[in-house]
């Protein structure tokens, strides 16, 4: 069974239609790179999947839960779908440890001792176990973003969404974050990521979704979509990002 099924969804902000008849599915273990020009609706698509944005038409399923049903427990859904943002959004008043353990202890009622073990565990996965006592403003952008990833991982989600998580970073810090993503991909995590790192998409993604004007303009296996783009819009987009 598909992990996510998106059926003909429409998303509007007032008069502006941002997603227009979008349909796709995500299978367990897939790594999907979402590419497209600024304003094409990539972030919005991601945010609809974990219910951060309501939709005006169509349906989104996560396993057997209808995301856009008012009766759905979004809190439960969000424990299963993690999201990491471009601007990290760590909680500045909490230590790295508490940033990570807050949701497991508050939402999942995990015991404090177990949560600390979990924090160490996920910090190891992003290579930052020595920063457990630090505060966000004592970390570099790349480190903050890795903590944000660890924070999401601590909820043990079935799927992770990443919205341009390297775009705010200095070039020399991008690599460390991409390596964490690669390791997660190898471990079998289902991932959907909006990215401008075409090299990374080519190496890691199993499928590419190209968004244009609120629609999925082209979609398919990475090698095929990037190797022989079918539409002039994708040709022109690839031309513009490659230099």
């Amino acid at each position: 069974m598909s992990l996510v099924r998106i059926e003909n969804i429409t998303k509007r902000f007032g008069p502006l239609t941002v997603l227009d008849g979008v349909s796709t599915t995500v299978e367990p273990g897939e790594i999907i790179a979402v590419i497209g020009r600024s304003g094409s609706g990539k972030s919005t698509l991601l945010r609809c999947i974990n219910g951060l944005e309501p939709i005006q038409g169509g349906r989104i399923w996560f396993e057997d839960q209808l995301v856009n049903d008012p009766a759905t427990d979004l809190r439960r859904l969000r424990q299963q779908v993690g999201i990491v943002f471009q601007s990290y959004n760590l909680f500045p008043h909490l230590s790295v440890e508490r940033n990570i353990t807050l949701a497991p202890t508050v939402v999942k009622k995990m015991a404090a001792g177990d949560a600390r073990g979990l924090a160490l565990d996920v910090l190891k996965r992003v290579g930052l176990e020595d920063k457990i006592a630090a505060y966000p403003d004592q970390l570099s952008g790349g480190q903050q973003q890795r903590v944000a990833i660890a924070r999401s991982l601590a909820m043990q989600p079935k799927m992770m969404l990443f919205d341009e998580i390297t775009s705010a970073l200095d070039p020399e810090l991008i690599g460390e974050v991409l390596r964490v993503l690669e390791a997660m991909a190898k471990s079998g995590m289902t991932m959907m990521l909006v990215t401008h790192e075409m090299g990374f998409a080519r190496n890691v993604a199993s499928r590419i979704i190209f968004m244009h004007q609120g629609k999925i303009w082209e979609e398919g296996p990475t090698a095929k979509v990037l190797g022989s783009p079918a539409t002039p819009e994708l040709v022109s987009f690839l031309g513009s990002v490659l230099h």
Partner: protein, 216 residues
């Protein structure tokens, strides 16, 4: 009979300060509790509730404090209830303070970036959990200086309670003036005493503000 202004009068004025401070403290506690509730209603994701809170704040900020005092003091008398001046004053000042504190605190809550709400929602926290663990701890830091600033206003505004016969510093000064006919000296002393309360508060507010700028 006009008599001299003596040290005893000064002592009475200092003594009356305690009612000024007591009224301020009661209004701060009452207004703080009520104001916190109104501030929270002002940010809940439910529009009709927010409108209700806005209406409450507007009604109180848009009417003179003096009128509010009279409503509490004489208003109840119309229905046959006699209220003590201190009861009317405490109620009026609490409600007055609640509107201003609610507005100050709402501003502090809304100064926390939207992304903090989003990141905590994405981790599955409920609205109440978001407030308690993420938003309020950050909002409290920025709320302290303006809250202390409002407290200074509150101290000075309690002088209005004199008009309904509540004997605090200003009312005591009126009484002393009537007996000694030395308004300049008496009100000068009263003003100095207000300053003695307000100046340390202002200082505190500024120091907190400086501390906050360097703190994380």
């Amino acid at each position: 009979m006009i008599r001299d202004l003596t040290w005893l009068d000064f002592a009475y004025l200092v003594y009356a300060m305690r009612w000024t401070i007591a009224l301020t403290a009661l209004a701060l506690v009452g207004g703080g509790l009520l104001g916190f509730v109104v501030a929270m209603l002002r940010v809940v994701p439910l529009a009709p509730v927010r409108w209700l809170a806005v209406g409450y704040i507007q009604a109180l900020q848009g009417t003179p404090l003096l009128a509010q005092l009279f409503v509490f003091y004489f208003g109840f008398a119309i229905f046959g209830y006699r209220v003590q001046p201190w009861v009317a004053a405490t109620a009026a000042f609490s409600i007055y303070a609640s509107a201003f504190l609610a507005e100050i605190w709402r501003g502090c809550v809304q100064a926390i970036p939207r992304t903090q709400w989003e990141a905590s929602a994405a981790l599955g926290l409920s609205f109440g959990e978001q407030l308690r663990h993420i938003i309020l701890p950050q909002a409290v830091r920025i709320a302290i200086p303006p809250t202390v600033g409002f407290l200074v206003q509150l101290v000075k505004n309690t002088s209005l309670a004199a008009v309904i016969g509540f004997i605090e510093l200003t009312r005591e000064a009126q009484i002393t003036t009537a007996a000694t006919f030395k308004p300049f000296a008496v009100y000068g002393i009263a003003a100095g005493l207000y300053f003695c309360i307000c100046f340390p508060l202002s200082e505190l507010s500024q120091r907190l503000e400086r501390r906050l700028r360097v703190a994380r």
